[in-house]
C-alpha cells in the first residue's frame, strides 16, 4: 500500500504515470479510461481532445453523483423561498438536506422572511405508491405544503422510480398551479438515471427554471448596472462576499442563480443587462437562453482569486463602459487589495513552490488554480467530475461534440426571441468595438489551456487513480469532495474539500482569497502530518540496553 512518507524514488514522466494509473484495469476498462486521461500539451488554441461526459464504468469507484443531485442538490437546493418537494422514497430528499452548505439570508424581509432552506420535504413514496402510482400522493403533498406554508412557489423533483412507474408530475403540478392561483407549481423530471452524472440535472433544472419562472415578473427593479450572476451557489458564503463587492462597486445584482436566491429573482432575471457566468458547466444553458430570448449578452467571469475578482469586476465595468463605474471599480480594487497582498505575502513564504491537485466540479478545478497560483502553488494534475469537452478545451469545440444516446435524452429547449421583451443591450457597433478591444462574449477557454505542459488532466477521476496519483506524484495538497477526503488524508496528504469547503469559506472575492490563503497555509503547514509514525515505528531496532542507564 502507498505510503506518503516514503521518499520519492524516481521523477516520473507523465506518460509513465498514465501507464501506472491504467495498469491494474481489465483491458476494456483501460482502453476507456485512457481516453479520459490527457497529458496536457498546453498548445495555444489547439488542446488535445478529451473524452468527457461519458458513462462511468460500473464497479469503478467514481466521485460522481446523479441527475437528481445536479438538479435538486446543486441548482434548486440553494433557493430560499421555494418549497422544494422531492417526489420519491425518503432517501433522496434526506441526503440533499442541508449537506451542501449553501448559506441563505432572508434578512431584508425581516425575521419572518420566507426561508425554507432548513426544511426537507418529501412524499416518502411507499410500496403501494410504486405499484398503484404516486400521483395522488404527490397532489396531496403539494396541497399540504401549500396549506401549511402558502409559499410563492413549489418545485417538485422526480427520483428514479417516478419516471419508471410513469407518474405524470407535470400534469399534477400544472393542475395544482391552476387550483392555487397564487403559487407557481412546476416539476423537474430529474430521475437519477437520466444522465451520466450531475450534469444532466443541471441542464434539466436550467430548462425548467427558464420555462416556468424566468420572465414572470416584468417590473423594473431600481439600480444601475444590472447584472445576473449565474452559477454561484453561495457555498460557505461565497455569494455574500460577491454581493458585498457588487454593492461597493454600485453594480446591481438582479438575480443570482442560485445562491440565496428567491423566486422573484429568477422571475425578474430577464430585466438585467448582462449575465456574468461563474460556473460555466452548470448554468451556461440559462445564459444562452436569456440571450436568445431577451437579448442579454453573457460573459464568463471568475470570482475565485483576488486577481481574478479584480479582472471580473473590470470586465463587467468595461461592458457598461461608463466612466463612473470604471472609476468606482478601480477604487474598490485599490481599497481591497492591500489587505489581500499583505496576507498573500505572508503565506507565500511558506506555500511557494508547493503543488496541488484539484478534482472537482465543472468549473472549480479550473477556478481554484488561480488562487493556488496567487500563493505560488502549482497545480500538477486536475480534472472535472461531470464536465463536458468544452470545459476542458473551450467553447469553440461545442459544434464538434458528438451527441451520444445519454445526452440526447436531455431535452434541448428551443428558444426564440421574445416578441415584446427582446431588447438588444448593445448595438452591433458597440459589441464590435468591445470585441476589437479583445473583449470576449459568450466565451470560455476551458481548463486545459491554462495548465502547464505535461500536467495531467483526468476526467471522472476514481478512487484507484487518485490513490495512485497521490502515491506517485506526492502533491502537497489534494482537493476533491467529502467521499475522497479521508482516503487521501490516511496517506498523510492534506485534503481540502472544494465542493462544500469542509467547514470553511467564503473563498470568493477579496476576503475569500484571504480566507483561502490562510486555510491552505494551515493545511499544508499543519504539524499533524509529521505524527504519522510513533518513535518506535521510526526506529524499530531494539536497543541492547537494560535498565535506566
Amino acid at each position: 500500500m502507498a505510503t506518503a512518507t516514503k521518499k520519492k524514488m524516481v521523477q516520473w514522466e507523465p506518460a509513465d504515470i498514465k501507464a501506472e494509473l491504467l495498469k491494474k484495469y481489465p483491458p476494456k476498462v483501460a482502453r476507456k479510461r485512457a481516453k479520459q486521461i490527457m497529458i496536457n500539451e498546453a498548445l495555444e488554441n489547439e488542446t488535445p481532445e478529451m473524452t468527457a461526459n461519458v458513462r462511468t464504468i460500473p464497479g469503478i469507484m467514481t466521485m460522481r453523483g446523479c441527475t437528481y443531485a445536479g438538479c435538486k442538490g446543486v441548482i434548486m437546493g440553494p433557493t430560499r423561498d421555494i418549497v422544494n418537494l422531492v417526489h420519491g422514497p425518503i432517501g433522496c430528499s434526506f441526503y440533499a438536506w442541508l449537506t451542501r452548505r449553501n448559506q441563505t439570508d432572508a434578512g431584508p424581509e425581516g425575521p419572518n422572511g420566507e426561508n425554507f432552506i432548513n426544511y426537507c420535504f418529501s412524499t416518502d413514496m411507499q410500496e403501494q405508491d410504486i405499484i398503484f402510482g404516486g400521483e395522488k400522493k404527490l397532489e396531496a403533498a403539494i396541497q399540504e405544503a401549500y396549506g401549511l406554508f402558502h409559499p410563492k412557489s413549489i418545485a417538485v423533483f422526480a427520483t428514479c422510480p417516478v419516471g419508471l412507474i410513469g407518474d405524470d408530475i407535470h400534469t399534477v403540478t400544472r393542475n395544482m398551479k391552476e387550483k392555487f392561483g397564487d403559487c407557481n407549481v412546476y416539476a423537474f423530471s430529474c430521475e437519477g438515471y437520466k444522465g451520466v452524472s450531475q450534469s444532466a440535472g443541471h441542464h434539466i433544472a436550467n430548462n425548467q427554471v427558464f420555462r416556468h419562472i424566468v420572465g414572470e415578473n416584468d417590473e423594473v427593479k431600481p439600480g444601475k448596472y444590472k447584472i445576473n450572476l449565474l452559477g454561484e451557489y453561495n457555498i460557505g458564503g461565497d455569494g455574500f462576499e460577491i454581493d458585498r463587492i457588487f454593492a461597493k462597486c454600485g453594480i446591481t445584482c438582479i438575480s443570482t442563480f442560485s445562491g440565496n436566491s428567491t423566486y422573484d429573482q429568477f422571475a425578474s432575471a430577464h430585466t438585467a443587462d448582462l449575465n456574468a457566468v461563474m460556473c460555466h458547466r452548470s448554468i451556461n444553458y440559462v445564459a444562452d437562453m436569456l440571450e436568445t430570448k431577451y437579448g442579454i449578452p453573457w460573459i464568463k467571469v471568475n470570482f475565485i482569486g483576488a486577481d481574478s475578482t479584480a479582472k471580473a469586476l473590470r470586465k463587467i465595468a468595461q461592458y457598461f463602459g461608463e466612466q463612473e463605474l470604471i472609476d468606482q471599480v478601480e477604487k474598490v480594487i485599490a481599497e481591497e487589495m492591500p489587505e489581500v497582498m499583505a496576507a498573500r505575502e505572508d503565506v507565500v513564504t511558506r506555500t511557494d513552490g508547493k503543488t496541488a491537485m484539484i478534482f472537482v466540479g465543472g468549473s472549480r478545478a479550473h477556478h481554484y488554480q488561480d488562487l493556488f497560483n496567487e500563493m505560488g502553488m502549482k497545480t500538477i494534475s486536475a480534472g472535472y467530475e461531470f464536465a463536458h469537452r468544452d470545459d476542458y478545451e473551450g467553447r469553440q469545440v461545442i459544434p464538434n461534440i458528438k451527441l451520444d444516446a445519454d445526452s440526447r435524452n436531455i431535452e434541448e429547449l428551443v428558444v426564440e426571441a421574445d416578441e415584446t421583451r427582446y431588447k438588444s443591450r448593445k448595438s452591433a457597433e458597440e459589441i464590435k468595438a468591445l470585441e476589437d478591444e479583445g473583449y470576449k462574449f459568450k466565451h470560455y477557454d476551458g481548463l486545459a489551456p491554462d495548465m502547464d505542459k505535461n500536467t495531467i488532466i483526468i476526467d471522472d477521476l476514481n478512487q484507484h487513480e487518485s490513490e495512485k496519483l497521490v502515491e506517485l506524484m506526492k502533491p502537497d495538497i489534494f482537493c476533491a469532495g467529502i467521499k475522497e477526503k479521508y482516503s487521501i488524508q490516511k496517506l498523510g496528504i492534506p485534503m481540502k474539500q472544494l465542493h462544500s469547503y469542509d467547514s470553511g469559506g467564503p473563498y470568493a472575492g477579496f476576503k475569500g482569497a484571504i480566507n483561502f490563503y490562510e486555510e491552505i497555509d494551515r493545511l499544508v503547514g499543519s504539524k499533524v502530518w509529521s505524527y504519522m509514525k510513533a518513535p518506535w515505528q521510526e526506529d524499530p531496532k531494539l536497543s541492547a540496553t537494560y535498565g535506566w542507564e
Binding site: M1, G59, G91, W97, K485
Partner: protein, 457 residues
Amino acid sequence: MLLRHTPKEITERKALTINPAKTCQPIGAMYAALGIHGCLPHSHGSQGCCAYHRSTLTRHYKEPISATTSSFTEGASVFGGQSNMLQAINNIFSVYNPDVIAVHTTCLSETIGDDLPQIKKKAETEGKIPDGKYVISASTPSYSGSHVTGFSNMVTAMADMAEPTGTKNGKINVIPGWVEPADMEEIKRLTNIMGVKSVLFPDTSGVLNGPLSGEYKMFPEGGTTVAELKSTGDSIGTLALGEWCSAAAARLLDKKHKVPCSVLDMPFGLKATDRFIDALRTVAGVSVPEEISVERGQLVDMISDMHQYLYKKKVALAGDPDQLIAMTEFLVSIDMCPVHIVTGTPGKKFEKRIREITKDMGCEVNVMAKGDLFHLHQFIKNEPVDFLMCNTYGKYIARDEDIPLIRWGFPILDRQGHQYFPTVGYKGGLRLLEKILGVLMDRQDRDATEQKFELVL
C-alpha cells in the same frame, strides 16, 4: 428562527413528510456490509444512491467509506441492470480485490425487478467470481421500511452465509444491531470478560474508527471474517440485540440451521445491559465476574449521586426503534420523563412497547412511529422539554426552542466521539449520564441568578 415556518398547531398530514426521522434502506445495508472484513459494499442502482450513502457515512465517521455502484443510465433502467452488475463484479475483483462484494438493491433496481440471486448465478457461471471470493446480496427497496430495515436485511444476508459443519463450536452469535464501532468493541469487551466465546456480526470496529498512520487500506483489519460468518451455523445460540435491526438474522439461523436465538433489547442503560449480561451468563453457562458487577455498581452509584438533577426532567427523543426503546427504558429507570418519542421507521409494535415502558411514568407521552422531526418540533412547542436527544438534525429544533441537544443516533455530522466512546453497556451508561448531566447542569449554571449560582453541584 431557523425553522420559522413551523406552526405550533398540529395539523394532520397524510402525504407530506417534513424533516424526516429516517432515511432509506440502502444506506443501512451499506453500513452493515462495512462490518464484514474485506467487504466492498455495492449499490445496484444509479450513481447518486452510492454517492449519497458514502457521503453521509463519511460525514458521520470522518473515515473513508469505499463502495461501488452499477451506475445505471436510462438504458439499464429500461433493459435491466444485469449487464452493469456483471461488469461491476468483474471490475471490482480486478481493481479492488475484496473478499466479499455485498450487493444491495435500490428503489430503481427493485422497481424494474432485477433479480440479484439470478445475476449472481450468471456471474458464477461466467467465472466472474474468483475462487474463495463471495458475492452476497440483500433486497433493500427504498420505498418500504427505513435505513433500519436495510441494515437488518443485509445482516440477514450475512447470516445466510452460515455453513454448518455439523459440529457445534461452543460459540454464541451476538448480533449487535446498528450501533457505533465503539459500541461493537464494548460488546466484545463485555463478552470477553464474561469468558464467552462469540462471533459478533456485523462488526465495524477497526473499520470505521481507524488510525491515521500514513497508510491507506481500503480494507482495514476489522470486521467479521467470512470464516466467522460461515461458522455462525455451528454456534450454540444467537443473541440478537434489537428486534428491528437484528431479529430477522437470528431467526434465519434458527429456522435454517436450528441455532436457537433470543431477541433482547439493545444494551443501552442499566436494565437492558443487566438483561444482556444475564442472557450471556445463562446461555453460555458462565458466572458473571466481579469486574462486571463493579462496572454495574458504578453506574448505579452515579444515578444515586445525581438523582436530584435527573428526577422528573422532561426529554424529547428521536431516532430508531431499537435504540429508542432501550433509551426510553433507561430514562424512565432513572426517574426522568421521556414525553415525546418519535421514529421515522414504521412499526405499530414500537408504539406499543414505548407505551408499556412509560405507563407508570405519571405524565402524558406522545409516541409516534412513521413520524418526522417537524411533528416532533410541534410536540415540543406544545409541551416543552428540558432537552432533546436526536441526531444532528435536531440542532435546528434545539436552537429555535433554546433547549440543549444531546447528539445520539445517526447521522451525527457536527460532533466527534461516537466512533470512539461507547454508549452501550454499563460504561456506556456512565457516558450517557455524563452527557445528560452535562447539558442539564450547564443550563442550570447558565440560567442561575447570581445569588443562586453554586460552586458545588
